[in-house]
């Protein structure tokens, strides 16, 4: 386990900020940490990185207690905080070169170019960072996080400020890192589409407490949340498929269906296709992760 947090508690100025946080990230896994603003996500990450001391609970990151040896954690962890943290007067190359040396790495010009290209930045760019767009800064922050060739990545809103193409590029990069280089990734984001596409497992934090943790499909099943989808059919469905999907509404070519609880979406689509449904497009239409998240956070707040 790259991150193993159990029963984490922390008070700040007498106010409980973390009440009972449990979280684990394994090698090659993308873990999504969700929660409303003020839930304690950033504080949990700060504890994991040794920037804050907890009052109770156990924290192990890369096999080390970050309170005791935070430098060992930092040497193998790449972090992209929510606030980028750039020196506006430097160029991207100078910035990466500076941080690479702080990580004890020496990259020549060609290697720095590769790092910049990896995140979609033009290596020939000579403008100071102060002139960059938000999306460019975000890419640069990701490049900085990858400098130590980390075993663990902690990313806070990594696709913030990126256009759809940029978001897709970053997604592909993260999937590649986790699948092919066994990097464990802890992803903090409010973009549920990103979570849906990227995360193997998620944890939902509400008021400093982990209220749910696990694979999305398992959580949906456990929460009895209907998965609602909009399907585009080129013709009427050949037959109903009871126990798999239930038709909720129809608008011309578009059919709104709920996948029955306990049925995984992939299995539902196979069944529909075998049953002869002429499906050409599938889109999520409410329910699912968003409803689960809203339900859990409202329930806790109540």
């Amino acid at each position: 386990m790259l991150i193993d947090i159990q029963s984490l508690r922390l008070q700040i100025d007498g106010t409980p900020v973390l009440r009972d946080v449990n979280l684990s990230v394994d090698k090659g896994e993308i873990y999504g940490l969700l929660g409303p603003n003020g839930a304690g996500k950033s504080t949990t990450i700060a504890v994991a990185l040794g920037l804050r001391q907890s009052d109770a609970g156990s924290v192990r990151v890369l096999g080390v207690d970050p309170r005791v040896d935070s430098e060992a954690v930092h040497a193998q962890t790449g972090v992209l905080p929510e606030q980028g943290g750039f020196y506006d007067w430097m160029t991207a190359r100078d910035y990466l070169d500076f941080f690479a040396r702080l990580y004890g790495k020496e990259y020549d010009a060609a290697a720095l170019s590769v790092r910049l290209e990896q995140v979609g930045l033009d290596p020939a760019l000579t403008r100071a960072i102060g002139a960059y767009s938000r999306g460019m800064k975000q890419r640069l922050g990701l490049a900085r996080a990858l400098l130590p060739e980390p075993r663990l990545l902690i990313l806070d809103e990594p696709t913030n400020g990126l256009d759809p193409r940029g978001r897709r590029e970053i997604h592909d990069l993260l999937i590649d890192l986790s699948a092919n280089r066994n990097v464990g990734i802890l992803l903090c984001t409010h973009l549920l589409d990103d979570v849906d596409r990227l995360c193997h497992r998620i944890g939902i934090l509400v008021e400093g407490q982990t209220v749910a943790q696990g694979a999305i499909a398992e959580l949906l099943r456990a929460g009895n949340q209907p998965s609602r989808f909009r399907l585009r059919l080129t013709g009427p469905p050949s037959a109903e498929v009871p126990g798999v999907v239930r038709v909720v509404a129809q608008e011309g070519e578009w059919w709104v269906v709920d996948i029955e609880p306990g049925v995984l979406p992939d299995a539902a689509w196979r069944q529909l296709l075998f049953s002869g449904w002429p499906v050409t497009e599938i889109h999520r239409a409410g329910g699912g992760l968003e409803d689960l998240y809203l339900t859990l956070s409202e329930r806790r707040a109540a």
Partner: protein, 175 residues
């Protein structure tokens, strides 16, 4: 006879004036610039003044304090001058000066500021009811530039301009 005494006193006074001497109550104070003083001194030069305080009376004079004073007399800027940095030797004291005895003192002075000045030696003693002052010695001090514009101007304008140039170059490079 009375006429002769008046003439003698006048002659004595005239003689005293020629040597820069003032008299009162048995004590006389004279003041003269040293012959070695520069003829046209400027700021930074050193002058010296020679004074003789003599007991011309028949009785001893006690508790003598004599000091140097300097005033600036440029029109519109008449003022006494604080001698702290001009002269380290500010006063002499003598407990008892017998008849005929004299105190000879040299008063060195460093010329700190330009202008026209008068220097005087003043003295008091226990017996006299008033101040005894020497005649003034006048001198002028020529101005000397202490902050040279040919040094300051290039630096005062050059350095800010160089930094401003660096700022502009940086902006051009990053645009």
């Amino acid at each position: 006879m009375n006429m002769l005494r008046v003439v003698l006193i006048v002659l004595a006074c005239a003689g005293s004036a020629a040597a820069g001497t003032a008299q009162a109550g048995g004590l006389s104070v004279s003041l003269a610039p040293l012959a070695s003083n520069p003829s046209s001194p400027q700021m930074g030069d050193r002058l010296a003044f020679h004074s003789v305080i003599r007991n011309d009376g028949a009785a001893p004079v006690t508790g003598i304090i004599a000091w140097i004073s300097l005033v600036q007399v440029d029109p519109g800027r008449e003022q006494p001058v604080d001698l702290e940095d001009w002269n380290a030797h500010k006063a002499v004291t003598v407990g008892n000066l017998a008849p005929g005895q004299a105190i000879v003192t040299d008063w060195p002075m460093r010329l700190i500021q330009s202008g026209h000045y008068r220097v005087v030696i003043s003295a008091v003693n226990r017996e006299a009811g008033g101040l005894i002052a020497s005649p003034f010695v006048e001198f002028a001090v020529r101005r000397k530039p202490v902050v040279e514009s040919q040094r300051v101007l290039p630096v005062a304008f050059g350095i800010p301009l160089a930094i401003a140039g660096l700022i502009l170059w940086r902006r051009w490079r990053s645009s």
